[in-house]
């Protein structure tokens, strides 16, 4: 059955028809053509489809689009302000945290969720915060370094 929902994605308002079975992931990728959010496993295990929903990270493959009615969604495309990258994005580039890039958008959003709550995390907290995101390329080391580096930038530490 069709439902008309309204939601905000990266600050833009949408009113859109979705089927009951449509998941948020497909709404974002197929209807809104925001393909930065990746489709990895459709079972909530890999985190490639992570988006922020009302300020917290969720697997968009595990949310029905209709459940997102009235919500505010941030995808990777909504992270940078115009030309200016978010510190996490910058650190991911500089610290070599990006290889194939498939996990990257989800990983960055998980990192953001952590740093929004805790801008001075321990290494264990960082590891735990990205538990739900599989990376098969990097062995996570450089991702952790990037998140630590971004945290430092966000705290305003001198480098």
């Amino acid at each position: 059955m069709k439902h008309t929902i309204s939601l905000k994605v990266n600050g833009e308002s949408y009113e859109i028809d979705v089927q009951s079975e449509t998941v948020l992931l497909d709404l974002i990728r197929e209807k809104l053509d925001l393909t930065g959010t990746k489709d990895g496993c459709r079972s909530g295990e890999c985190g490639a489809c992570t988006v922020m929903m009302n300020g917290v990270p969720v697997n968009s493959c595990m949310v029905l689009a209709v459940e997102a009615d009235g919500s505010e969604i941030t995808t990777i495309e909504g992270l940078s302000k115009g030309e200016e990258l978010h510190p996490i994005q910058k650190s991911f580039i500089e610290k070599g945290a990006v290889q194939c890039g498939y996990c990257t958008p989800g990983m960055i959003l998980s990192a953001k969720a952590l740093l929004d709550r805790n801008n001075d995390p321990t290494s264990e907290e960082v590891k735990k915060a990205i538990r739900g995101n599989i990376c098969r390329c990097t062995g996570y080391q450089k991702i952790e370094e990037a998140i630590m580096d971004a945290a430092s930038t966000m705290r305003g530490d001198e480098k």
Binding site: A48, I76, F92, I93, C100, C137, G139
Partner: protein, 766 residues
């Protein structure tokens, strides 16, 4: 060599910006006008004759544009390897594993295609299956391919020196048996493609692949069309790790669906399909027999390996050979015998995996070697050093080792891991305690740049320079996230003396790029890097010649670095920018400059023709790892405390990316060693999701300490390939560490807690 400005520096990947912003388009992100969505109907039977296929209901479903079965295609059997032609695009008479392709649908949406699959009716006459390679070799085993007369795909038997004499002269002979199980690649992007048929009989395919030219060749072969009719455009892959060396079996299906509908067709695996259908690494059964002197010197070594080919042939025979070569070369023994056998089963077909069989045989031999050391009362490091390779020809196989930092790799690993102290400390620990620690080591050799297999080991590159000084390298480099394009840009920037940000990489399209097999065998930075460097130097020569005119001096007096041309005797006083030189060429001289580079291994044709063994590797790379663990003897659980990895990189072009390669390989290596258990029960894959197939998460990774040994080899700037080597010693290093901790050696991967506990119980240790 004068100091370099770009090579050897920590430089971020040139593709990272588009990836962190979500702008990077991968295959799954691509849509085309009029595009249809494909789905494949797959066998639910392990082995069966197809008695009926009825697709009539599926064809009637609104939104379905084509349903195809073997009856719609010209009869044709193809194979990736011409030695064992055995595969059909869609099965006509028989299915040979769960997942075998029977029919395919193209529809307006994935959902409709999926629904259409549920309307397809197939009836089977089940046949007995064969799943274990040893049983499959028996004369009464069910035949996977009746026309072959046997389940043995191929055998290799090599002997160097006199193996029996070697054993006769040995003081001790050790025999052992290991099983290196399958590993799933688990690329985060599942396999997929878009195929577009065009009037006139041509096909264009967009797909993530490790070798666009290989895919092109294979697709032409599968379809039975002239290669000239096929164009492949590589879409930068979301992980590959060997899985994408060979063409995805979806590609010819999508090609036919496009031909029947006249529209582009996209066909993408679900994660579940990825687990049971997109192929895994080969399972190895390894029998070892090694003769040593009482001091521990290896006099004779013999291996017999059996590989599970699965239902269809892929890279198996190449792997039988490669595994034998690295086994034969790693420790220089005067007498070596190697027998390899590749066997059909009704399991999912196997394919290449980063390391290409080296980790499978390496796990066995390196664990075996520690057992020998233990029996002789030697330190594992000592026995390895005693049998270490040296530069020059190996005794038995006559392989030529060009640069050999064997000793340096071990010694640096020992230093960084605290080997000597830890080993002693853990030997003396109170064995009654619940938690026991251990440290283990393993060594490896791997090719530093692929092989001369097939008689071809070459690469080509072109440079064009636009009027604004932007330098474009046309190269077959494949970007898989490993950073191949960044390395090429660095080599060009360094070689030409231009700025890194002025270099562009043009790759991926078989209509544009030079012929090249692809990104595998740790070959591209070496081979295509050579070609890129040659092209850069060629272009630089032209550029300096023009600059000499501009500056009114001799070409020989000039050099360029980081975008500026300067007099060699006054490097701190740049005269003109490379961009200005490019502009001058166009506006003042009315011409253009460019560069061309070729690298061709001269002995390749001969090596390819004679199907040489160890001599088919142009240069060998080495590496050593040590792993420190703590084992809970109550549960068998292993905490991996630290891993030290020392890698022979020849020269590290980009430490940032090189470290990333090793870190990532270590994660895969540890996964394979400890948690990644790929369970197939009578042909059915039971681990078909991330819930049950456990790849490492961030918390599972230990402290990683890395170093690179720069042996300065034959590659551009001295490079050797490092794409694969990082995961080769990992399994044995872990198994050996657990052995020191508990006295238990697990001989079948993965070394999981349950196996350790069972063995501890059996021995009454806990």
């Amino acid at each position: 060599m004068s100091e370099m400005t770009v090579v050897g520096k920590y430089i971020p990947s040139i593709n990272a910006l588009s990836k962190v912003t979500g702008q990077n388009k991968m295959l799954q992100d691509m849509k085309m006008q009029g595009m249809l969505y494909g789905k494949v109907f797959r066998s639910t039977q392990v082995h069966a004759r197809i008695s009926k296929i009825d697709v009539s209901k599926a064809r009637k479903l609104p939104g379905v544009r084509a349903v195809i079965t073997a009856a719609d295609l010209p009869p044709r059997v193809y194979c990736y390897s011409p030695d064992s032609v055995d595969e059909e695009i869609l099965c006509s008479k028989k299915v040979r594993y769960i997942g075998d392709e029977i029919a395919a649908v193209a529809a307006d949406s994935v959902e409709i295609a999926q629904e259409a699959l549920s309307l397809i009716e197939v009836e089977y006459e089940p046949l007995p299956g064969t799943f274990d390679t040893v049983k499959a070799m028996e004369s009464n085993a069910p035949l996977v391919h009746e026309d072959k007369g046997s389940n043995i795909v191929g055998e290799l038997d090599k002997e160097f020196g006199d193996i029996e004499k070697g054993f006769a002269e040995s003081d001790h002979i050790f025999e052992d048996y290991f099983v290196s199980s399958r590993q799933a690649h688990c690329c985060m992007e599942t396999r997929g493609c878009i195929a577009q048929y065009a009037a006139g009989g041509s096909y264009t395919v967009w797909a993530p692949t490790q070798g666009p030219h290989f895919t092109r060749t294979q697709l032409a072969e599968a379809l039975g069309v002239d290669k000239a009719k096929v164009r492949v455009i590589d879409t930068a892959a979301g992980g590959a790790f060997g899985q994408k060396v060979m063409m995805d079996t979806n590609v010819p299906i999508a090609a036919y669906l496009s031909k029947f509908t006249g529209r582009p067709v996209k066909l993408v695996n679900t994660r579940e399909e990825e687990f049971f259908n997109s192929r895994t690494s080969y399972e190895f059964k390894v029998h070892l027999k090694t003769g040593v002197t009482k001091e521990g010197k290896i006099l004779a070594k013999q291996a017999r390996v059996i590989l599970d080919n699965g239902a269809y042939s892929d890279q198996g025979f190449n792997m039988v050979r490669f595994a034998g070569v690295v086994y034969s070369v790693l420790y220089d023994a005067p007498n070596v015998k190697y027998q390899g056998c590749l066997v059909y089963t009704n399991n999912q077909p196997s394919t290449a995996y980063r390391g290409f069989g080296n980790q499978q045989i390496g796990f066995a031999f390196e664990a075996h070697l520690d057992q020998i050391a233990a029996k002789l009362g030697l330190d594992p490091m000592e026995i390895r050093l005693l049998n270490a390779n040296k530069t020059g020809y190996t005794k038995a196989t006559k392989a030529f080792i060009n640069t050999c930092p064997f000793k340096e790799c071990i010694e640096e690993t020992a230093r960084l891991s605290g080997w000597a102290e830890k080993r002693k400390l853990y030997d003396k620990q109170d064995k009654n305690k619940r938690f026991q620690r251990g440290i283990g080591m393993a060594m490896m050799t791997h090719t530093g740049c692929s092989t001369r297999n097939g008689g071809f080991l070459a690469g080509e590159a072109y440079i064009k320079i636009s009027e604004d000084g932007i330098v474009s390298l046309i190269t077959p480099i494949v970007e898989l996230g490993q950073g191949g394009t960044t390395a090429m840009a660095q080599i060009v920037a360094e070689g030409m003396g231009v700025k890194m940000e002025d270099v562009r990489i043009i790759n991926a399209d078989t209509e544009i790029i030079p012929f090249d097999p692809g990104a595998f065998g740790s070959r591209q930075t070496f081979i295509d890097g050579h070609a890129a460097l040659a092209a850069a130097r060629d272009a630089k020569k032209e550029m300096l010649s023009v600059a000499a005119t501009m500056l009114d001096c001799k070409e020989e007096e000039l050099d360029a670095a980081d975008g500026m041309v300067f007099m060699k005797n006054k490097p701190d006083d740049p005269k003109v920018s490379t961009r200005d030189v490019a502009k001058y060429v166009v506006t003042q001289k009315g011409t253009l400059i460019s560069g061309y580079g070729l690298y061709a291994d001269e002995t390749a044709p001969e090596g390819g023709r004679t199907k040489a063994f160890a001599t088919y590797i142009p240069t060998y790379a080495f590496g050593c790892q040590a792993i420190e663990v703590e084992v809970d003897q109550k549960t068998g659980k292993v905490e991996i405390l630290k891993i030290t990895a020392v890698t022979d990189s020849g020269r590290t072009i980009n430490p940032l990316l090189a470290e990333g390669q090793i870190h990532g390989a270590l994660a895969q290596g540890l996964g394979y060693a400890y948690t990644e258990e790929y369970v197939i029960d009578e042909g059915k894959v039971l681990t078909d999701s991330f819930v049950d197939y456990k790849v490492p998460r961030a918390e599972d990774m230990p402290e990683m300490v890395l170093d690179f040994i720069e042996s300065n080899d034959l590659g551009p700037y001295g490079v050797k390939g490092i794409g694969e080597s990082g995961l080769v010693p990992t399994q044995a290093a872990l198994a050996n560490a657990v052995y020191q901790a508990t006295g238990v050696l697990i001989k079948e991967l993965p070394v999981k807690p349950e196996k350790i506990l069972k063995e501890l119980k059996r021995r009454g240790t806990c």
